[in-house]
């Protein structure tokens, strides 16, 4: 998954220092794989270049005087990212989770994220179902495999949708 | 697709199709409905046959009664004399016959002329004679039995009847007839009998109606689900109603068939079981055509109406069934209003006309009675609701039953309301009957036999010596009664010769010594003057003359308007001899009896019949009930048994139906490890609680009804506790039997297989 939209999304809640940003990310999405500090700076540099964030220099001589803030272009980039369904593929959940949490943090409708994704999944499932009906047994078996995986994802989406209230409470806590 | 509508016949046909093709459970349901309705139909046909049975009985009895009386003996005349005699608690009626010529008539069912001493018996009496107790009867009716009376001479197969040939009859002590058969007498019924019949009939018809209503509802839940499926396919409410009607009609027609068959079976089975006093021929058990047609029309119509009303309480929607019962609150006021109005209707004539006023306002009373009895059925659901809400939880089985009843008591109520109405009316009839016959036997409580010897010329003297040797005979008093003609002009007077003891016994006079002559006459009566000379017997019969002595005492009679008569003690008669010879002359022999002696009356009656079969014997037994009362009691018992059978069948099938529908939860309970004993007990409680509540209500209302009816018919007010006990006990036994009969079914539905669906 790409961490850029996630970091952008986190900045939408307020300007942060680089180290803060890493901590916030780890806390919410890092789980047992914390982000390398260098990765944060590299990503920030790219976002800065693209004009999605800007840097506020703070007076003083500390090691970390740079504070990142999101630009209007960055905000619309986050919005676009949230409303764009992911390509249905395995291990999508961490990306989707990140999206839902950021939607909650940035005041977007999290169910929109889920429903958009669901529609995308179903679109693919329809296609597979159609292909299955037209294809031979090998096609059918291959399609069924994909369908079952997609169905599992969809179930997860459904479950997450059902637990959004709980999630919102913990995110905002 | 053109939006059309199916026709009504097509809807009915569809319903018919659905009801006959339900597979095993469908047939079981149809069988239950048909059986239930069949029992109801059979009962209705039985009631519809009562008029025919009573009419044919009366006709047969009239046809064999002595017909045209003639004065002169002839070639075609017959002397007959009716006699009655007791066999155990049953009454045997017989005729002494004595042909006076070759063309003398034969009674119906008798195919031969009986020589003196020959007897012809009904088969039932023959059976009694052949049984061990027949020994006591040896020789009571002639010397030899020469055959049996054919069925056309009997009102029923159980009738005890005998014809005995004799040569001792004369025109004086018998009827001389030239044929048999008289017009049927229209006795008319008195108010009490009518009331009893009405209460009995209401008590009989209400449970049968309830039974029919219950039977039609069998499988109701499955039917509702089925109709919902049809509704989903596009049937509107009216179509659904017609389909349901079609289904019900199949059950109703099946019920008519089963009922007809049951009725035919009853014609064969019932007559031998009916006591002799009520016996009738199976062939005479024919419903009145109009009533039978009414049953055939009304039962299907009523079934359809019940189905429609049952459907009113559910909304059959395409998605399934919504029961409205959950929102039905049992409102008390109108349930109370119906019996109260009934009570008021019954009390109105009492309050305005006093006791004994029911004879004139039977319509009002009948309406009130029906309302009161229907009110019982209406009050029961409310009472049961209140009761089960108040009952405290206890053992597991009790809790299961209680919760079930609290959840839904409608089914239980339907099954029990029939019991309640019938028990209430039975208690009422028992009460009426108990009051009507509260003092059986003779009034002064003496155990005695009285022989009326009307053989011309007999002074009864031979009886004392002949009967004195019988064990249990404690004393014999003989009185001779004659009509004395004055030698000169004047009125004849009745004259009784007898001992002082018999005089004080019969008149209430306190003093009497042998040699006394007493005039029993009211003070202002025209009494014969002392010195008047009478002929003691028919003029020209060789009887002596006798004059009223001067010292004749006058005694007040018991009844002030009775005609004067003379009582003469033997010594006062002097040399005069009384020869009883007139139509109304006879010797009266009173025999005091001892209860301790075994079968004393049977021995005595046999001995008397052997001495003189023409003598009439009346037994006054203060401890015995009269055979008429026995008959009514037996009839009532029969009715009670029939009703309780209906009630038991009702309880059985409704609970069976309920068990079948609750197969799954019961199986789950059993799978949980709830023991069958607990489930069985819960079924028992489930049946018993409504029955107990119902019986309590029934006894209260029935007793009240009895008291009102007694007052209305001017009878002494009393309650027949034994009758209440028997009826209530019988109902309790029915509950137990029904539960016991359900246990195998309970075992089947609680098998783990019950967990699986269809």
């Amino acid at each position: 998954m790409s961490i850029a939209p996630a970091l952008l999304g986190l900045l939408q809640t307020g300007p942060r220092h680089g180290y803060d940003l890493k901590r916030a990310y780890d806390e919410r999405f890092g789980h047992d794989r914390p982000l390398a500090y260098g990765q944060v700076y590299a990503t920030m540099a790219r976002l800065l270049k693209n004009g999605l964030v800007e840097v506020e220099l703070e007076p003083g001589d500390g090691p970390d005087r740079k504070r990142y803030a999101i630009t209007d272009a960055g905000v619309s980039d986050v919005e676009q990212w949230l409303s764009r369904p992911e390509k249905p593929e395995p291990y999508l959940q961490s990306t989707l989770y990140t999206k839902v949490v950021l939607a909650l943090l940035t005041g977007h409708e999290p169910t929109d994220v889920l429903d958009t994704q669901r529609a995308e999944h179903l679109r693919l499932m329809r296609e597979l179902t159609r292909r299955k009906a037209e294809g031979d047994l090998a096609d059918q078996l291959v399609c069924d495999h994909a369908l079952f995986h997609l169905e599992a994802d969809l179930r997860w989406l459904e479950l997450t949708a059902a637990r959004l209230d709980q999630l919102a409470a913990s995110v905002r806590a | 697709m053109t939006p059309g509508r199916s026709s009504a016949p097509a809807d009915l046909a569809l319903g018919v199709r659905m009801s006959v093709s339900g597979g095993r459970s469908g047939w079981a349901r149809l069988g239950l409905i048909a059986t239930g309705l069949g029992i109801g139909v059979a009962m209705l046909l039985l009631v519809a046959s009562l008029p025919t049975v009573l009419d044919t009985r009366a006709e047969r009895d009239a046809a064999r009664s002595p017909g045209t009386e003639v004065v002169e003996p002839g070639d075609d005349t017959l002397l007959v004399k009716r006699f009655a005699s007791d066999v155990a608690a049953d009454l045997v009626v017989g005729y002494l016959v004595q042909p006076e010529g070759a063309n003398a008539p034969l009674p119906p069912g008798v195919d031969r002329v009986l020589a003196p001493g020959e007897a012809l018996m009904s088969p039932a009496l023959q059976r009694v004679l052949d049984s061990p107790e027949g020994e006591l009867l040896d020789g009571r009716w002639g010397d030899r039995v020469v055959g049996t009376i054919a069925p056309e001479g009997l009102v029923g197969p159980q009738e005890l009847r005998v014809y005995v040939g004799t040569d001792q009859l004369t025109g004086d002590n018998a009827q001389r007839i030239s044929d048999f058969g008289r017009a049927v007498r229209d006795d008319g019924a008195d108010a009490t009998t009518m009331l009893m019949a009405l209460v009995g009939l209401t008590g009989l018809l209400v449970p049968v109606a309830g039974f029919i209503a219950t039977a039609v509802r069998f499988g109701g839940e499955a039917r509702d689900r089925r109709l919902a499926a049809v509704r989903l396919a596009g049937a509107d409410a009216a179509t659904t109603g017609r389909i349901a009607a079609g289904e019900t009609l199949v059950g109703a027609v099946g019920g008519l068939l089963v009922g007809g068959l049951l009725f035919l079976a009853m014609r064969a089975v019932v007559p031998p079981l009916v006591p002799s006093s009520l016996t009738f021929h199976g062939a005479d058990l024919r419903p009145v055509p109009v009533l039978a047609a009414l049953v055939a029309v009304l039962v299907p119509v009523a079934s359809v109406l019940v189905t429609r009303s049952a459907l009113k309480h559910v909304i059959v929607e395409p998605l399934g069934v919504v029961r409205r019962s959950t929102v039905v609150h049992r409102r008390l006021w109108w349930r109370v209003a119906v019996p109260v109005v009934g009570l008021a209707l019954m009390l109105t004539p009492l309050l305005s006309g006093g006791t004994g006023s029911f004879g004139d306002s039977q319509g009002l009373v009948l309406l009130g009675m029906v309302l009161l009895l229907v009110g019982v059925a209406l009050l029961l659901p409310w009472l049961l609701d209140v009761t089960v809400r108040r009952l405290r939880p206890g053992a597991l089985s009790w809790d299961l039953a209680l919760r079930r009843l609290q959840h839904e008591s409608g089914t239980a109520v339907r099954a029990v309301s029939a019991v309640v109405v019938s028990v209430a009316s039975l208690v009422a009839v028992h009460g009426l009957l108990g009051s009507e016959t509260g003092t059986p036997g003779s009034e002064d409580g003496r155990f005695e036999a009285v022989v009326y010897d009307d053989l011309p010329g007999s002074d009864g003297a031979h009886w004392a010596s002949a009967l004195a040797g019988i064990e249990g005979v404690q004393g014999i008093e003989t009185r001779v009664m004659t009509s004395a003609e004055p030698v000169d002009v004047g009125e004849p007077i009745a004259l009784v010769v007898g001992s002082c003891a018999s005089f004080t016994d019969t008149t209430g006079a306190t003093t009497c010594t042998d040699g006394d002559v007493m005039l029993v006459a009211p003070p202002d009566a025209q009494a014969p003057a002392p010195g008047t000379t009478y002929v003691l017997g028919a003029p020209g019969s060789g009887a002596s003359t006798w004059s009223v002595p001067a010292d004749v005492a006058t005694v007040e009679p018991e009844y002030p308007d009775s005609a004067p008569w003379l009582f003469v003690t033997p010594r006062a008669l002097g040399d005069a001899v009384v020869v009883p010879s007139g139509d109304y002359d006879n010797a009266i022999v009173t025999i005091a009896l001892d209860h301790a002696a075994p079968d004393v009356t049977a021995h005595l009656q046999t001995a008397i019949a052997q001495i003189d079969p023409t003598a009439t014997v009346i037994i006054n037994d203060p401890e015995a009930t009269s055979s008429m009362v026995t008959g009514i009691r037996q009839g009532l018992m029969l009715g009670t048994v029939a009703l309780l059978a209906v009630v038991g069948a009702n309880l059985l099938v409704t609970t069976a139906e309920q068990l079948r529908e609750r197969r799954r939860p019961l199986a789950v309970l059993a799978a949980f490890g709830v023991r069958r004993r607990v489930l069985g007990l819960s079924v028992l409680f489930q049946v018993a609680v409504p029955v107990v509540v119902g019986l309590a209500l029934a006894v209260v209302v029935g007793s009240g009804l009895a008291v009102i009816l007694q007052a209305g018919a001017d009878l002494p007010v009393s309650l027949d506790l034994a009758g209440i006990g028997v009826t209530a006990g019988g109902a309790a036994a029915v509950v137990l039997l029904a539960t016991a009969a359900l246990l195998p079914l309970l075992g089947r539905v609680t098998r783990p297989a019950g967990l699986q669906g269809e």
Binding site: A162 | S19, A229, D236
Partner: protein, 240 residues
Amino acid sequence: MTTAPVTTGPGAVIPSSGPLLVARDLHVEFGPTTALAGASLEVHGGEVLALMGPSGSGKSTLLHCLAGILRPDSGTVAFDGRDVTAMSDAERSALRRSEFGFVFQFGQLVPELTCVENVALPLRLAGVTRRDAHRTAREWLDRLEVPDIADKRPGQVSGGQGQRAAVARALITRPRVVFADEPTGALDSLNGERVMQLFVAAAKDTGAAVVLVTHEARVAAYSDREAVVRDGRVREQVPA
């Protein structure tokens, strides 16, 4: 003004302009629970629409409202321009007979009737003679690949076979809309898929729109479009 030729012959699709079935702002409450809180939906002629959503979201209630089985507390349902919510029971029954078909998870076949009788039931309710109705019913059972169950009762056939009979019964009147509530809910996946294939193909052939309530994505994948019901409202999406 030209009108498209409308035929009701076999296999004909009725071309439609505009939605066939329109629900607007439906509210339904069952006692204290709210089943629908302002649900709106459009169903177009000939389309297969999947109604998805978690249990208790109100999707079945919505289906029942659309089919005229349930009358909403407020809001309207219009079928072909006619207000279904204002119809009498008889009119709605007539609609169910002629324009609608139903396939439910269970409980829709009459256990007392044979399968062919069950399939023929709507025709007979519409006044078709027994002979004609049965002939058509047998054709439909053939088409759904279960000719053998015709004379068996629902209790004697498998779940999949029963559902095919139910599909045949729903389509026999060539309805404009078939309402299906978890039609494969009681079937294993292989059977369920086959039933769905046959169902959707037959519906497409007759031109019937299908409103399909399901919580199974693989069943919903047979639809042209899905609508998600959540908290009594419809979140409609057009396929990407």
